[in-house]
Symmetry: C2
Subunit: 459 residues, 2 copies
């Protein structure tokens, strides 16, 4: 990210490529979605992605919930089994299946057997081995998947997979739960080909998730595909883990971390670009493209948070370092009182200050994923963020509302600020005045509708 000065302007991550939300499938993939009858409503509940010339390298980031769902355990095991010499977070895959309607979480040994059976159906359909398949699931916790319907769905869908934009839209539909709309994003970057001429590389992602969303490793389900080439699966982990720390881990809808959170990044190599490896130009270009897509999907998820009417983006500059900036941004965006205030279009900077004052660095695992050494991550994980009220400045939607160096509360026209909050997106800016650290976080307002939806969900 590049900083601009002052607390009144957005800190645009201007080094990221532009993103489109039109459906686009990168080369080397076939995708699709359909209704397999898992959901009683008959809405789409099955999605598949196939690598044409598989297996392809894949990296994953998963929930840290102790109640990790059966598909999460299966993904972790298959990454290891398909790449025994790897880093445990990357491997090889021919394709994946995602079910929605039932999370297959807290279903015990029976649920794990179900997920293994689904992997078997998929392996058979794709003509590959079980450990080269991956599975995702989302929906109600504690219910079993209807195996016969999933098996029939996989058999039908494998014959319908395509590279058409409509097929990606169908896949994005197939992973939805309470999302009000499907979420897709694509970035395009240029990477030199093996022959020396520039090749166009595409990075496309689909995502779901509008509740049980809170920063801790990946949140929600997201699958990113690229036709870039990489030298090894570990290259994809080296890109995905720090990107997740800056994007999905900075997303909060309701403070709950799901049992099924999964983000996958698969590289088909079909674009003919020179292989990315840490330190080379292909790696840097691919990393920016992945981050652009991840950031855009995270913002789509925040904007569609259950019951939300406004996307809240909090950008923090002047922190001691980026980890401190991200901690403060996350604390502001996670505060129920801040979220309720913005629902009321109330420029209540006192609640923003109060929330910032409680900020804690993320836990050691995320700090390490973001690039800290194990020792430093372990020492700093969960510790209070550094903040000095006398140096802090706060702006809401471009209006300075708190100016620590000038003595505290700023004079502003409440009616004018209030009016500027009546928008689909509101920017909260904090300048800490302590250093060069930058960071942002994404959330939404807290509404009566959130409570209504979530007090009626399972019954």
């Amino acid at each position: 990210m590049t900083a601009t000065s002052g607390p009144d302007l957005a800190v645009l991550p201007s080094d990221l490529p532009v993103v489109t939300r039109e459906p686009m499938v990168p080369g080397g993939f076939l995708v699709g979605g359909m209704s397999a009858g898992i959901k009683a409503s008959g809405r789409p509940d099955l999605a598949m992605i196939r690598v044409v010339n598989g297996p392809a390298p894949v990296a994953g980031v998963f929930t840290k919930n102790a109640f990790a769902a059966a598909p999460v355990k299966l993904c972790r095991a298959h990454l290891k089994a398909s790449h025994p010499s790897g880093d445990g977070r990357s491997g090889w895959t021919n394709g994946l299946v995602s079910t929605s309607g039932s999370a297959n979480a807290a279903t015990g040994a029976a649920g794990e057997r179900d997920q293994a059976a689904i992997a078997g159906f998929l392996a058979e359909a794709l003509g590959t081995t079980v450990e080269r398949t991956l599975g995702l699931s989302t929906g109600l916790i504690g219910t079993r998947l209807p195996l016969d319907k999933v098996a029939a769905g996989i058999r039908t869908l494998v014959g319908r997979l395509s590279a058409d934009p409509t097929a990606l839209a169908a896949a994005a539909e197939g992973i939805r739960t309470t999302d009000s709309r499907a979420k897709m994003a694509t970035a395009t970057v240029e990477i030199l080909g093996l022959a020396g001429a520039p090749r166009t590389v595409r990075i496309s992602g689909i995502a779901k998730g509008v509740g049980m969303i809170h920063p801790r490793m990946a949140t929600t389900l997201s699958v990113l595909m690229t036709d870039a080439a990489v030298t090894a699966p570990e290259v994809l982990s080296a890109i995905l883990s720090p990107v997740a720390a800056r994007t999905w881990n900075q997303l909060s809808v309701d403070g709950d971390t799901s049992t099924n959170d999964t983000v996958l990044l698969i590289a088909s190599g079909a674009a003919g670009s020179s292989p990315a490896a840490p330190g080379n130009a292909a790696f840097d270009a691919l990393r920016l493209g992945v981050e652009a897509v991840a950031r855009d999907l995270a913002r789509q998820q925040a904007a569609d948070g259950e019951g939300a009417t406004t996307l809240l983006t909090c950008q923090v500059t002047g922190a001691l370092d980026d980890a401190n900036a991200r901690a403060v941004a996350r604390a502001v965006i996670s505060s129920s009182l801040v979220k309720a205030a913005f629902h009321g279009r109330d420029p209540n900077w006192g609640r923003i200050a109060g929330a910032a004052g409680n900020a804690r660095l993320t836990d050691a695992a995320v700090l390490q994923a973001a690039g800290f050494s194990q020792e430093e991550a372990s020492r700093r994980g969960g510790s209070p963020a550094t903040l000095d009220p006398a140096r802090l400045r706060i702006a809401i939607a471009g209006h300075l509302v708190y100016d620590g160096p000038a003595g505290g509360p700023a004079t502003f026209d409440k009616g004018v600020v209030r009016e500027s909050l009546d928008a689909p997106e509101v920017l909260i800016r904090l300048e800490l005045g302590l250093g060069d650290g930058l960071g942002e976080a994404f959330g939404c307002d807290l509404t009566e509708q959130y409570v209504i939806e979530n007090s009626e969900y399972s019954t």
Copy 2:
């Protein structure tokens, strides 16, 4: 606390004395409350407590928010100034004043000057030195206190202080903000007197706070008075800090930690009991009485959470240790999804399991207050709680809903459980099957009314 077996029964903290919520003033104190005109509504907004034969020993636990309000900073400074050789958390006091309507937080140097001026008014009224006074405040963040009204209020109220029950009720009224009712609790214990005969010792507390409540050091405003004697101010810290870790730190309404959180414990010695000191019987009796009052006040606060219709108590047994048990109980009670489910009277154990799976131990400072060594607290603070889904059992309102050892989801009559949730208090029980650790936490359901109140509060 004493454990009973199985997940279907409440873990009663049966070693605590019985508590009454009738107003009672321990010997050696004069109290009172009134409307000083700080609130535009004309509702009570000033409370005072005076030690008759002061100064008396006092201990405090305060917010860890970086935006700590002016009264919190003043209390910390006065504890140190009145007891330079002390532990920094205890000192000597002749009395305190509490204002409500304006929090005097994020008001910069001007707010600190205001609070010092208020301490001056109080010292003059009580005939003591400034450093032997304490101040509390609660209300809107970022607004200044009307000094002239506070000064006039203190001058009027000091002449009206009394030991009558109605005076304590008035003080409890004077610290309210959005509370729907005043909160008081009293426990009585027997401690041998200096002459050898048993003396009746009273511990009485008042509390306020129904929003911006989340575990981290003390939450909300609470003042506890006792007529017990102690050998030194540090004895009160040795009682108050671990009690706060087990009670107020286990209370969550909305996940926000206030800028003004303050809990004070003052001992007048008027009961003529033998002085409490760590290791003696007087200390143990006083500790139990303080914990009983603290626990009851915390439960009153949870039950009166903004918009709440149900008090949620989560009790956890079978954890590796008490810190793990408290972490799991706190995670369940803090989950927006669990809170919303109980508002819908939905026995959604999947959300309970999901929330438990995210539990983290509290931070190092609270662990240390609860009795861990600095090294162990620093190592374990913020780390994931230990949980094994295969051993976990969950009961809601006495009904077993999840039985890990038996394979997971239990069979239960949803209609029957649903009906038992339509109560002013619901017990959620988790048996972890891992050890002897016990703990509990207090919260409330999340309702549309919470959102409505908090999207309209400051405007």
